[in-house]
């Protein structure tokens, strides 16, 4: 093979020129294949400095409309770790319910609005509205259900207000939770199972590509880890969250303004597929049956299957939400006040699984409860090196295809990871003809 290839995909995102795929092959030798991304959440650190522990979670939740809850809850557990604030079992359960809602929403939107158009080769979700209106409506219905969970538990769907350090400023009513349970069972579950059928029908279009890598996620002793746990690597096993810097090992590369990360190898994978590979045995039987039906094997090394792992997780989130609501009601909802009396000041480290993978916040507080220093390591940054390594293996394997097909395969690869790039700016562009 002595092919020359020169692919540059600009404007992968709405942020000016950032997020480019660059592939360079000369005489059949791949010289370059990478993705460069600007990572706006890096500005976290500056925004958090000097803020009080009451403000930190509110600020982080406003960084991004799609990742808001993940940042908020991770900020809360970090602050609680730093200030020695214990939270109740009820708080933990309500937070887990929120995590399920957020994971459901993000996973479903990703599968239907980004991945499905790729599998159907229609370019975007818009042609699907004409041809598969019921499917688009189903996606919006599931988004709505997820928003309803967030509305009732957190006070507001987009930028939650009731989750505060030490607990919740408002506890939902029993009747509200029962209404959510009804919707989860009557609408959510059938929609979730139909989603599995829809994705199964499209799965033939998923590129056959495998690259075994290191998979990093949280691991919890009692459940499929989404809210807290230990860090777990498929290569080296468990390590406490407090040692996260030994895992992330961020480093700078020339082609990206965002740092890359590596642990035991030169890259690792975070996200739904990493969670699946590390923790699938802890899913319930319905989610496992869904995985089997859709062809997701217990160990899966195809990064494009991340989308499939996401829809399996969606089924899990729906059913586990019902379990959590039952438990909350069985325990009896208590109108508890949040515990906001610090027992210490200093450094705290927190981690949760957000839809795109494992997220770390790390704050140091002064003795007035204001942040001296903050560090946040987001999933997309951790995946960048792995995406580059996927590209380096993928391009030679598909080099006989047309340049357009290669480009599409690379874009689909990037989309499979659903990178968080243009967080939070939703500017409308209007061209006036004058």
């Amino acid at each position: 093979m002595s092919r020359d290839l020169d692919i540059k995909v600009h404007h992968l995102t709405r942020v000016e020129g950032h997020g480019n795929i660059v592939v360079n092959m000369k005489d059949g030798v791949l010289e370059k294949a990478h993705l460069s991304i600007v990572e706006p959440p890096r500005f976290f650190e500056a925004m958090l400095k000097g803020r009080s522990f009451h403000e930190a979670a509110i600020i982080t939740s406003r960084i991004c409309g799609i990742c808001s809850l993940g940042h908020q809850l991770t900020s809360l557990v970090t602050t609680e770790d730093a200030l020695g604030l214990e939270v109740s079992e009820q708080t933990v359960l309500l937070r887990k319910l929120l995590v399920h809602g957020a994971t459901l929403q993000s996973n479903i939107l990703h599968a239907y609005f980004l991945a499905a158009p790729d599998f159907l080769n229609v370019g975007s979700v818009f042609p699907l509205i004409a041809t598969h209106k019921d499917v688009v409506l189903r996606a919006l219905r599931m988004k709505r259900l997820a928003n309803d969970i967030a509305d009732i538990v957190s006070g507001r769907a987009v930028h939650p207000i009731t989750p505060v350090p030490g607990g919740f400023s408002r506890i939902p009513e029993k009747a509200e939770l029962l209404e959510i349970k009804r919707k989860l069972l009557e609408e959510g579950l059938p929609d979730g199972l139909e989603t599995i059928e829809t994705m199964k029908a499209l799965a033939g279009a998923i590129p056959q590509f495998e690259r075994e890598t290191e998979y990093v996620s949280l691991k919890h002793p009692d459940e499929y880890a989404l809210y807290q746990g230990d860090i777990f690597s498929s290569d080296s096993g468990a390590i406490p969250v407090s040692s996260y810097l030994d895992v992330t090992n961020e480093f700078v590369v020339n082609h990206s303004t965002s740092k890359h990360a590596k642990y035991n190898r030169n890259s690792y994978f975070v996200g739904a597929l990493a969670r699946w590979n590390n923790n699938h045995a802890q899913l319930g039987e319905e989610a496992l049956a869904a995985a089997e039906a859709i062809g997701l094997k217990p160990k899966c090394f195809n990064p494009y299957m991340n989308t499939i792992a996401q829809v399996v997780e969606a089924v899990h989130c729906i059913l586990d939400s019902v379990r959590i609501i039952d438990k909350l009601i069985e325990m009896g909802l208590k109108n508890e006040k949040p515990n906001q009396t610090p027992t210490r000041y200093g450094r705290g480290i927190g981690s949760n699984e957000v839809p795109r993978g494992i997220l770390f916040h790390d704050y140091t507080y002064d003795n007035k409860g204001n942040i001296l220093q903050a560090n946040c390591v987001i999933p997309t940054g951790q995946n960048l090196a792995n995406i580059d390594n996927d590209m380096m293996k993928l391009v030679p394997e598909i080099v006989d295809k047309s340049k357009e097909e290669i480009t599409l395969n690379l874009e689909m690869l990037v989309r499979a990871y659903d990178p968080c790039i243009s967080c939070s700016v939703h500017m409308l562009e209007v061209d006036f003809i004058e």
């Binding site: 500005f43 409309g65 818009f126 688009v136 790039i421 061209d431």
Partner: protein, 157 residues
């Protein structure tokens, strides 16, 4: 039910992009049982839910229109070409234009939908509203009041 729904879109942390949520704040400081206020934050796709069952809706957002900073345009979205990013790499690429187009294709647009677009000066993280956009905020509040009167007159007619 409220006569008019006003939805503010944007991030409070990104300078002039905060105009949508800040307009919602400004309106909520006044007494408006006739206006339903929604701070959609930066989840633009979420606004579709607020289109259902409403006749009169205003969406307020920072808009790149090639105008001077602080310039306000009242836009009928069915009468202009929205710049659609039909190849987003991430969910973060689905913004207001995409949400409106999706609602239009699904026949979910409210009968009377208006966008109040405000040209930003800066949308850098961790900055506050620019002076031109601060002025625009006051004008936008007046525009909402004018719209409320128009909607009420329509209802009476």
């Amino acid at each position: 039910m409220a006569a008019l729904t006003v939805i503010g879109v944007g991030s409070r942390l990104r300078g002039d992009d905060a105009i949508g949520p800040l307009l919602i704040d400004a309106l909520s400081d006044q007494t408006h049982s006739q206006i339903e206020l929604v701070d959609a934050g930066s989840d633009a796709l979420g606004i579709i839910e607020y289109f259902q069952g409403r006749d009169h809706v205003i969406v307020v957002d920072a808009c790149q229109m090639g105008r001077d900073a602080g310039c306000i345009e009242e836009i009928d979205p069915t009468q202009i070409d929205l710049v659609i990013k039909d190849d987003p790499v991430s969910l973060h690429g689905l913004g207001l234009a995409e949400a409106i187009k999706m609602a239009e294709s699904l026949q979910m647009l409210p009968e009377d939908l208006k966008i109040i677009g405000i040209e930003p000066e800066s949308i850098q993280f961790n900055s506050s509203l620019s002076v031109p956009v601060q002025r625009a905020l006051k004008k936008a509040v007046k525009i909402v009041h004018t719209e409320l009167n128009r909607v009420k007159q329509l209802a009476e007619a």
